[in-house]
C-alpha cells in the first residue's frame, strides 16, 4: 500500500505534493469547514488529470462528441418543428377542429351560413393552388372576421388592415421567404393564369409557400364562387343544433390533433435523425465510460490513501461527483458550440430533404431557444454521471484497506461475458418478435435498435471465440502469446470495438439503403420523364397559343398535355394526375403492378392507377373500386395499376387526361410535354423561349429535369451521409482513446517479452497486428449486421415512413470500401501508441519491474 502511495505521489509534481502533506491535519480536524476540505480533496483529485492529460482529453472528447451530435440533431429537429408550427398556425392546420365535405373536395358556402345560424362557431376557408411564373403556390382563402381566435398566432391581419384585406382588390399575405421567392416587392400584383392577384403584403408569421387572401377573393381567383373547402370550428359559445340537423350527411367533423400533418409526415425523418443522434451519443458515452473507468482505477490508491487520512466515503464521492459535473459542464458547453455548428452546416441539406420529401418549408437560418442550451448541458451531465455510475458505486463501497488492483474492474467484466451473450440472445429474440408482430414505424426502429444492441453485446464473445481459435491454431510461443494477449486485452477494448461495430453496421446499412434507392430511383426517373421537353405556360390562354404554334413545327412529334387536380380520399388530400393516351406513357411510365391491358382500360375514364403510397396506406389493390370526390360529384374508378411515386408526400392517382378535364373542368392546362425529333431539342427550346418569353423555369428539356431531380435526390441523403461519417468518426475516436488509455497499462505485459529478447520494434509490430486483427474481425462481423440493418430499413422502416418498398441490392464494392475504411481507422488509432512503444526508452521498460505491483 505504501509503495502504491509513494509511486502515485512520486509521479506527481512538487506543487501537488505540498497540499497533500499539509492537508493531513485538516482531514482529521473538524475545525475547518466542510467546504474547504472538499476543495482540498478536489485539488488532489484534479492532480490526476494533470499527470494524465491524455485521459482528460479522452474524457472531454467523449463528452463533447456525445453532446455535440446529440444537440446538433436536436437543434435540427427543433428548427423543423418550429417551421411546422408556423405552417400549422396558418389559419387552422390540423390543430383546429374542422368540418370537411363528406364526399366532395368543396361544398356550398350556404352550409357555413346555416351552421352559423344554428349556433356553430365556424369559419370558412377555401384552399387551392395557383401558379405564378411557373411555380405552384398554395392559395388559402380565409374569413378574418369569424376566424376563431384560438386558431393560432398567424391571423394578425389587422396589422395590414382588415379593411384593405377584405375590400377589393384585397391583399395577399405571404411569408418574407415567399416574397423573396417571387422576386417581387410588397405591393406588387403577380399574375396567375391571366388573373391579377391582390397586392402582396408580408406577414412574417406565415409559412413559406402559402398565399393568404380573403375568402371572397380566393373564390374569384380559383373560380369557385360560393364554395368552401373547410369550416374551422372555434370554441362553442352557446347551445347549438346537431351537425346532422343542419348539414345532413354532407359534412364530417375532423377532431383536432395535437400533431400537425407535417409532423406526422416528417416523423420518420426526425426519428431517423434522432436515432443517429442517440447512436453518436452512446458511442460518445462508451468513450467516457472507458476513460472514467480507467481514471478511477488508477486513482484507487489515491482514494484509499484519502480514506485512510480520514475522508469519509460520502465526502469522497461528493467530490468525485463535483469533479465529474464540472468536467461535464465544460465539455457540454464546448459540445453545444460544436453541435450548433454541426446543425448550421447540416441545416441547408435538412431543409432541402424536408422540402423534397414532404414539401415542408424550413427557414435556412438557425434559431435556437434557451431550453436547447440547458438541455444540452443537462444531457452532458447526465451522460457523464451514467457513464461513471459503476465507478462511483465502487468508490462508495471501497473498503479502506483493500489493496490496489489496477485493471481488476475490467477483469471482473470477463465474468459477465457469458451473461452478456445471454442478454444478446434475448435482445435478438425481441427483435425477431418485433419483426413478426410489430406494425409501426416505431417498431421498425425498435427492431433496428435491438439488432444493434444485441450485436454489440455479443461482439466480445465472438471476438473471444475467434481469438481462441487463433490461439489453438498457433504453434510458436510468440504466436500463442499473440492470441492469448489479444484475449486478455479484449475486455479493455470491447467497448471501443462495440462502438466501431455499431458505426460500421450503420454505415453499411444506410449506405446500402441509399444506393438501393438511388439505383431504383434513377431507373424510375427515366421512365417518368419520358418526354423530351417540358413546358409550363403562364396561363391557359398562353398554353393554347403555344400548342397552336407547336403544331406548325415539323420537329415536334407529339404534344402531350398534362395536368393535375387536388381532391381528397380517405380523409387526406390526394392528387389526381392526368396522363394523355400516348405511346410515350404506355411504353415508359413505370408500373409496379397492373391488370391486363391497363393502358387501354384507362382510356374510357372509369379506371385509374394509384400510387404505391396510397395503395399501402388505404390497403388498395388491383380490381378495387374507389370513389373520388370531384366538383361534379363523386367519380367512381376501378384500380387497374399501381405505380411508384417516390418522393411524393401526398397520395396520388393517375387517370386519363381527357377524363380528368371532364371531371375537374377547372384544372389548369398549362403543363405540356413534347416529343421532339432527336437533335432538334435545343433549337426548339430557344425558339419557344424567344417566341413566348418563357424562361428556364418554364421550359426545360428532359436532361435538365433529370439533373434537377437527381440533385434534389442527392441532397435528400446528404444529411444521412454526413451523420454517418460523423458517427464513424466518433467510433474511430473511441478506438483511439481506448488504445491510448490501454497503452500505458499494458507495459507490464509487454516488458517481460522485451526482457526475453523481443525487440521494441517487433513488439510494436505485434501490437499493431493485434489491433488490426480485432478490428478486422469486428468489421467482418459488421458487414452482415449492416446488411441486416439495410434490409430492416428497406422492408420495414421505409415502407412505414414513406410508403414505398425498394428492392434490396447488395453493393460489394461499397462493403470492401468500408472494410478498408475500418482498417485504416484502426491503423490510425493504433499508430500513436504503437509508435510510442517502438521508441520507448529501455529504462521505462525496466522501471516496470521496479514498480511491479
Amino acid at each position: 500500500m505504501s509503495r502504491a502511495f509513494s509511486s502515485e505521489v512520486g509521479s506527481g509534481s512538487r506543487e501537488e505534493n505540498a497540499p497533500k502533506q499539509e492537508s493531513g491535519a485538516p482531514f482529521r480536524s473538524d475545525r475547518n469547514g466542510k467546504g474547504s476540505r472538499a476543495l482540498w480533496i478536489l485539488a488532489v483529485m484534479l492532480s490526476h488529470w494533470r499527470r494524465h492529460p491524455m485521459q482528460l482529453a479522452t474524457l472531454l472528447i467523449g463528452l463533447i462528441s456525445a453532446t455535440a451530435l446529440w444537440s446538433g440533431v436536436q437543434a435540427l429537429n427543433q428548427q423543423a418543428r418550429n417551421a411546422y408550427d408556423r405552417a400549422a398556425a396558418t389559419f387552422g392546420g390540423s390543430r383546429t377542429a374542422m368540418l370537411v365535405g363528406k364526399d366532395s373536395a368543396t361544398f356550398p358556402q350556404k352550409l357555413f351560413v346555416d351552421l352559423r345560424r344554428a349556433g356553430w362557431p365556424v369559419s370558412p376557408t377555401l384552399e387551392g393552388r395557383v401558379q405564378i411564373d411557373g411555380r405552384i403556390y398554395r392559395l388559402l382563402g380565409v374569413e378574418p372576421v369569424t376566424l376563431p381566435s384560438e386558431v393560432g398566432t398567424a391571423p394578425a391581419i389587422g396589422k395590414a388592415g382588415l379593411q384593405s384585406f377584405i375590400s377589393p382588390p384585397g391583399e395577399m399575405l405571404v411569408a418574407p421567404e415567399t416574397l423573396h421567392d417571387l422576386a417581387l416587392t410588397e405591393g406588387a400584383r403577380p399574375q396567375t393564369n391571366g388573373v391579377t392577384l391582390p397586392p402582396l403584403r408580408v406577414q412574417p408569421e406565415l409559412a413559406p409557400g402559402v398565399l393568404v387572401v380573403d375568402i371572397g377573393i380566393a373564390q374569384a381567383i380559383l373560380k369557385m364562387p360560393d364554395q368552401v373547402s373547410r369550416l374551422l370550428v372555434g370554441k362553442f359559445k352557446g347551445p347549438h343544433a346537431t351537425l346532422e340537423s343542419v348539414a345532413g350527411d354532407r359534412l364530417r367533423l375532423v377532431e383536432p390533433s395535437a400533431e400537425t400533418d407535417l409532423e406526422r409526415l416528417t416523423d420518420s425523418f426526425h426519428l431517423n435523425l434522432t436515432a443517429f443522434g442517440l447512436l453518436s451519443f452512446f458511442v460518445g458515452l462508451f468513450i467516457v465510460n472507458s476513460a472514467i473507468g480507467l481514471a478511477f482505477e488508477q486513482r484507487l490508491p489515491m482514494l484509499r490513501t484519502l480514506r485512510a487520512c480520514g475522508v469519509s466515503a460520502r465526502m469522497l464521492n461528493t467530490v468525485l461527483v463535483i469533479e465529474l459535473v464540472s468536467i461535464a459542464i465544460v465539455a457540454g458547453l464546448i459540445g453545444l458550440v460544436c453541435g450548433y455548428f454541426i446543425a448550421a452546416a447540416l441545416l441547408p441539406n435538412v431543409a432541402a430533404s424536408l422540402r423534397g420529401l414532404y414539401g415542408a418549408q424550413i427557414p435556412g437560418e438557425l434559431s435556437l431557444k434557451p431550453v436547447w442550451w440547458l438541455a444540452g448541458i443537462a444531457i452532458s451531465i447526465l451522460g457523464a454521471l451514467a457513464a461513471a455510475a459503476a465507478s462511483l458505486a465502487k468508490a462508495i463501497r471501497m473498503p479502506v484497506l483493500t489493496s490496489a488492483q489496477p485493471q481488476a474492474w475490467r477483469q471482473a467484466q470477463r465474468r459477465w461475458l457469458m451473461m452478456q451473450s445471454a442478454a444478446a440472445i434475448a435482445v435478438f429474440a425481441v427483435a425477431a418478435g418485433l419483426i413478426r408482430f410489430g406494425d409501426s414505424l416505431l417498431a421498425g426502429f425498435a427492431v433496428l435498435a435491438a439488432l444493434m444492441l444485441g450485436a454489440a453485446l455479443i461482439l466480445p464473445m465472438i471476438l473471444e471465440i475467434a481469438l481462441s481459435l487463433g490461439e489453438r491454431i498457433a504453434r510458436r510461443p510468440v504466436g500463442i502469446w499473440f492470441w492469448a494477449d489479444g484475449r486478455q486485452q479484449l475486455s479493455g477494448l470491447s467497448l471501443a470495438l462495440m462502438a466501431l461495430l455499431l458505426a460500421l453496421a450503420v454505415n453499411v446499412g444506410v449506405g446500402t439503403m441509399v444506393n438501393s434507392f438511388s439505383r431504383t430511383f434513377l431507373v424510375w426517373l427515366d421512365g417518368r420523364l419520358a418526354a423530351d421537353v417540358y413546358i409550363n405556360a403562364a396561363s391557359d390562354a398562353q398554353a393554347t397559343k403555344i400548342k397552336a404554334w407547336l403544331r406548325e413545327r415539323p420537329e415536334v412529334e407529339a404534344i402531350l398535355p398534362g395536368g393535375r387536380a387536388d381532391t381528397q380520399f380517405g380523409g387526406a388530400p390526394i392528387e389526381v394526375l392526368g396522363l394523355p393516351d400516348h405511346a410515350t406513357y404506355r411504353d415508359n411510365w413505370p408500373l409496379l403492378e397492373s391488370s391486363a391491358n391497363a393502358w387501354v382500360r384507362l382510356r374510357p375514364g372509369d379506371t385509374c392507377f394509384v400510387s404505391e403510397q396510397l395503395s399501402r396506406r388505404m390497403k388498395l389493390g388491383l380490381g378495387d373500386r374507389i370513389e373520388v370526390p370531384a366538383p361534379g360529384g363523386t367519380w367512381p374508378l376501378e384500380i387497374v395499376g399501381i405505380y411508384a411515386d417516390y418522393g411524393n408526400p401526398k397520395g396520388q392517382i393517375a387517370v386519363n387526361f381527357a377524363a380528368l378535364t371532364r371531371h375537374f373542368p377547372q384544372v389548369p392546362m398549362t403543363r405540356i410535354g413534347l416529343r421532339v425529333a432527336p437533335g432538334k431539342i435545343a433549337p426548339l427550346i430557344a425558339a419557344l423561349q424567344q417566341t413566348f418569353g418563357l424562361d428556364d423555369r418554364n421550359v426545360a428539356d428532359q436532361a435538365t429535369m433529370k439533373a434537377e431531380s437527381k440533385r434534389i435526390f442527392n441532397r435528400t441523403f446528404s444529411v444521412t451521409a454526413a451523420l454517418n461519417a460523423f458517427t464513424l468518426g466518433v467510433a474511430g475516436v473511441a478506438l483511439l482513446t481506448s488504445l491510448l488509455t490501454l497503452a500505458n497499462s499494458r507495459l507490464p505485459q509487454l516488458a517481460p517479452l522485451w526482457a526475453i529478447g523481443l525487440t521494441r520494434r517487433r513488439l510494436a509490430a505485434l501490437e499493431l497486428l493485434k489491433t488490426m486483427a480485432v478490428a478486422l474481425i469486428t468489421a467482418l462481423f459488421a458487414l452482415p449486421l449492416g446488411l441486416l440493418v439495410a434490409w430492416c430499413l428497406l422492408v420495414i422502416v421505409n415502407v412505414k415512413a414513406f410508403g414505398w418498398r425498394l428492392p434490396f441490392h447488395v453493393f460489394p464494392l461499397q462493403l470492401i470500401e468500408l472494410l478498408a475504411v475500418a482498417l485504416v481507422a484502426a491503423l490510425c488509432a493504433a499508430a500513436l501508441p504503437v509508435a510510442r512503444l517502438a521508441r520507448m526508452q529501455p529504462a521505462s521498460l525496466i522501471k516496470i519491474f521496479v514498480n511491479e505491483r
Binding site: R117, A118, L162, I166, P168, G216, G238
Partner: protein, 361 residues
C-alpha cells in the same frame, strides 16, 4: 376620433367594431374609418322617416344599430336586465355588393344581468353572405343564431310584436315584445345632435314595449315579464375628436312617461347634455334647459377602472330630481370593446326603472 380609444356604443359603434374585431390590431385597420365620412351620406335635419323601410339597414351611412334593453322581474319579484344589440359598420360606401365583397361588417352583443351576476357575449360577421343582416319586411335582424324578428301581425308603426333571442355558454333568453303605442322620434324629429360642430345621427326609439318570456342563467330557466326599450340609430359622422365618452340613460317614468338622456364628455372637462321627454301618447320633446344636470354620486371600481354607477339627475323645468342605483354595479361589458351597461332603478321626485350605459372610462 381616435380609434384606439373606446368611445361610445350609440354614437360610435364605428370605433367599437374596429376595436372589437380582434383587438388592437383590428383597430389599427379601422383607424381611417374613425375620421371623415367621405363618400357616405350625411345626417341633416328635417329627414322624413318612412316605416317599415327605416327598420332596415341604411348602407349609405357608415354605422347603424338595433338596440334593445329590457327591465325584467321574475315571479318572486327579483329584477333582471337583458340587452341585445346588432351593430352594422360599412367599410366603404357605394351600392350594396352581394357576397363576400359586401361592404358591411356586423357585431352582436348580448347580456343578461341579475343583482349578483352579469353575463356577456359577442359575435361578429361579414355582410353579403347571410350570416348577419337586417330585412325591413318581413322585419328580421340577425347575427348567427341571435335574432330580433317580427311576429305575425307585425305593425311597422309600433315595431311590434317582436321575438328576441340570444344564447351563449352561460346564458340565453327568448322574449316576446309587444307595444300598442307608436314609436318615437328622438332629438329634433329624429335628428339627434351629438356636438356643436355638426356631429349627429338619425335616432328613433320604441320605449313602450311590454315583455314576457324566459331568461336562462347558468342552465336555470326563469320566467320573466317587464318593460323593454328599442333604439335605432344611424350616422356617418363620428363624435367630435375631443369627445371622450358618453353616459346614457333610458328611464321608464311613472304614468308611462319615458325619459332618454345622455351626457357627452369632452377632453377639456366640459360636457353636453341632450335628451327627450316622451309622453304616453308618444309625443317626444327635446329637453334643453340650462339648469338640467346629471352628476355621479357613487363610483365603483371595476376591471381596473373607476366608473360612476349611481347618479343624481335633475331636470328643474320638468320637476324631476332623482337618484339612480344600479341593479348590479358590476354590469361591465367585457367585450372586445368594453363598456358598462346594465339595469338601474331610481327614486326621488319620480321612481321607476331603466337602463344606464357608460363608455369611454
Amino acid at each position: 376620433m381616435s380609434a384606439s380609444r373606446p368611445i361610445t356604443r350609440r354614437a360610435f359603434a364605428g370605433g367599437a367594431l374596429a376595436l372589437a374585431l380582434g383587438g388592437r390590431s383590428f383597430a389599427q385597420g379601422f383607424a381611417g374609418l374613425g375620421e371623415a365620412a367621405d363618400g357616405f351620406a350625411q345626417v341633416t335635419p328635417g329627414r322624413q322617416f318612412v316605416f317599415p323601410a327605416d327598420h332596415g339597414p341604411h348602407p349609405e351611412f357608415r354605422i347603424e344599430w338595433w338596440y334593445v334593453t329590457a327591465n325584467l322581474v321574475d315571479a318572486a319579484g327579483a329584477a333582471y336586465g337583458a340587452q341585445w344589440t346588432l351593430f352594422r359598420q360599412a367599410m366603404t360606401s357605394g351600392v350594396r355588393v352581394e357576397g363576400w365583397a359586401n361592404q358591411q361588417v356586423w357585431m352582436g352583443h348580448a347580456a343578461v344581468t341579475s343583482a349578483a351576476t352579469h353575463h356577456v357575449a359577442e359575435t361578429f360577421a361579414r355582410g353579403g353572405v347571410g350570416q348577419a343582416d337586417v330585412i325591413a319586411t318581413p322585419f328580421q335582424a340577425w347575427i348567427d343564431a341571435w335574432q330580433l324578428r317580427g311576429l305575425d301581425g307585425f305593425d311597422a308603426q309600433t315595431v311590434a310584436p317582436l321575438e328576441l333571442k340570444a344564447a351563449a355558454n352561460d346564458f340565453s333568453y327568448a322574449l316576446q315584445l309587444k307595444a300598442d303605442r307608436p314609436l318615437v322620434l328622438q332629438g329634433d324629429h329624429g335628428y339627434s345632435r351629438k356636438s356643436d360642430r355638426g356631429q349627429a345621427s338619425y335616432y328613433y326609439s320604441q320605449p313602450f314595449f311590454t315583455v314576457s318570456g324566459t331568461i336562462t342563467i347558468d342552465g336555470k330557466p326563469i320566467g320573466v315579464t317587464g318593460h323593454a326599450w328599442m333604439d335605432r340609430e344611424w350616422s356617418s359622422q363620428p363624435l367630435a375628436p375631443d369627445q371622450t365618452g358618453w353616459d346614457w340613460l333610458s328611464l321608464h317614468l311613472p304614468g308611462d312617461e319615458k325619459l332618454m338622456l345622455y351626457r357627452l364628455r369632452q377632453k377639456d372637462g366640459r360636457e353636453n347634455l341632450f335628451g327627450n321627454w316622451i309622453t304616453p301618447d308618444s309625443r317626444s320633446t327635446e329637453i334643453a334647459a340650462p339648469g338640467n344636470s346629471i352628476t355621479p354620486t357613487v363610483t365603483t371600481e371595476i376591471a381596473g377602472r373607476k366608473l360612476p354607477t349611481s347618479w343624481r339627475v335633475t331636470l328643474p323645468e320638468r320637476g324631476l330630481a332623482i337618484e339612480t342605483t344600479p341593479l348590479n354595479p358590476k354590469s361591465w361589458m367585457g367585450t372586445s370593446f368594453p363598456y358598462w351597461e346594465g339595469p338601474i332603478r331610481f327614486s326621488g321626485s319620480h321612481s321607476g326603472i331603466g337602463y344606464l350605459e357608460m363608455t369611454g372610462y
